[in-house]
């Protein structure tokens, strides 16, 4: 890819960062509140995101809308596996509720000035690395 073609991804990232800060989805407190069922806020965000996502994907499927590369828009199939999805998901959830940030907000929060997030990012890279080492030994 040419350097110029990366600019659009930079702008998507900037937009993503702004939206997640302004929506308070990067707030540790909002995540806590969600897991305590004390507010509709995060459910509203995730719910409307999924709702409009379904709408977008159904329209593009029916309209055979193509991406920039000329291929019809599609989301690649996720690997199935009950163990990996439920166990991996639960482990992720434990961490998500503890630090209140998932792998997008981590970077965004760094940009907002939460520099101790670097520790979380390094630890999550380490977590991914350890998964890679243990992959063959884990139930999927």
């Amino acid at each position: 890819m040419k350097v110029a073609s990366y600019i659009k991804f930079l702008f998507v990232g900037i937009f993503f960062g702004i939206v997640l800060v302004k929506s308070e989805a990067v707030s540790w407190y909002r995540i806590y509140e969600m897991f305590r069922f004390q507010s509709i806020h995060m459910y509203g965000i995730i719910g409307t995101a999924i709702g409009s996502g379904i709408l977008f994907l159904q329209i593009s499927k029916r309209g055979h809308i193509k991406n920039l590369e000329g291929v019809e828009i599609y989301v690649p199939k996720k690997e199935s596996g009950l163990f990996k999805n439920i166990l991996g998901g639960s482990i992720f959830g434990l961490g998500w509720a503890l630090i209140g940030a998932c792998p997008g907000p981590m970077y965004i929060l760094l940009g907002t000035g939460v520099f101790s997030m670097v520790i979380v990012i390094i630890a999550s890279i380490l977590g991914t690395f350890v998964y890679g080492l243990l992959k063959e030994k884990l139930p999927h």
Partner: protein, 187 residues
């Protein structure tokens, strides 16, 4: 300008997140932030230890560019697009957190009780951040995605593995917020 500077309502924010997913799909890519963690491993040479990290990470540079953008976006949003408004949390949440030792809930995006350098300087504070990050990084790769890849992109495309993973996210999250956090922050 007030409507930009104030926090945005959820019914605006949700569809805007979908716009991010839609733009990436239009550019021929898939929304998935946790893949970057795997890319960082590959760049650092993790391929020497596991086949899992033996892939051409240059193909993932677009996603690292999104990461750089996200950091810049976080900076722009707090520096130029925000006012001093406090997160409008449920008063019950604020009360509950205060009994757990969290003060000024909602005044900032993250609590000092977890992220201030003073907290990080204590053994407990440091361990909690490392533990949380580790669980997120390990769990997301095990599950094959995170909030963006599974909850947004996966559920939008009606995929069953994503539904199971999101149920998992909630099992873990509910356990942490309802049972473990109260133990960790007992006053």
């Amino acid at each position: 300008m007030e409507f930009i500077l104030d926090p945005w309502p959820w019914y605006i924010s949700g569809p805007l997140i979908t716009l991010v997913m839609a733009l990436l799909l239009y550019f021929g890519k898939t929304f998935g932030m946790s893949s970057n963690l795997k890319t960082f491993c590959a760049i650092a040479g993790a391929g020497k230890y596991s086949d899992f990290f033996r892939f051409n990470w240059k193909d993932s540079l677009w996603n690292l560019t999104v990461v750089i953008g996200a950091i810049i976006g976080g900076y722009i949003a707090t520096q130029f697009l925000s006012n001093a408004s406090v997160t409008d949390l449920n008063p019950v949440t604020v009360q509950e957190l205060s009994t757990m030792g969290f003060s000024n809930s909602g005044a900032s995006l993250v609590p000092d009780e977890l992220f201030s350098w003073k907290t990080v300087g204590s053994a407990k504070g440091l361990i909690l951040l490392i533990l949380g990050g580790f669980l997120v990084g390990f769990g997301t790769r095990y599950a094959g995605g995170c909030t963006s890849g599974h909850a947004i992109a996966g559920l939008s495309s009606l995929q069953k593995p994503s539904l199971i993973a999101v149920i998992g996210f909630f099992i873990g999250g509910l356990l942490m917020a309802n049972f473990i956090l109260p133990l960790l922050f007992k006053s």
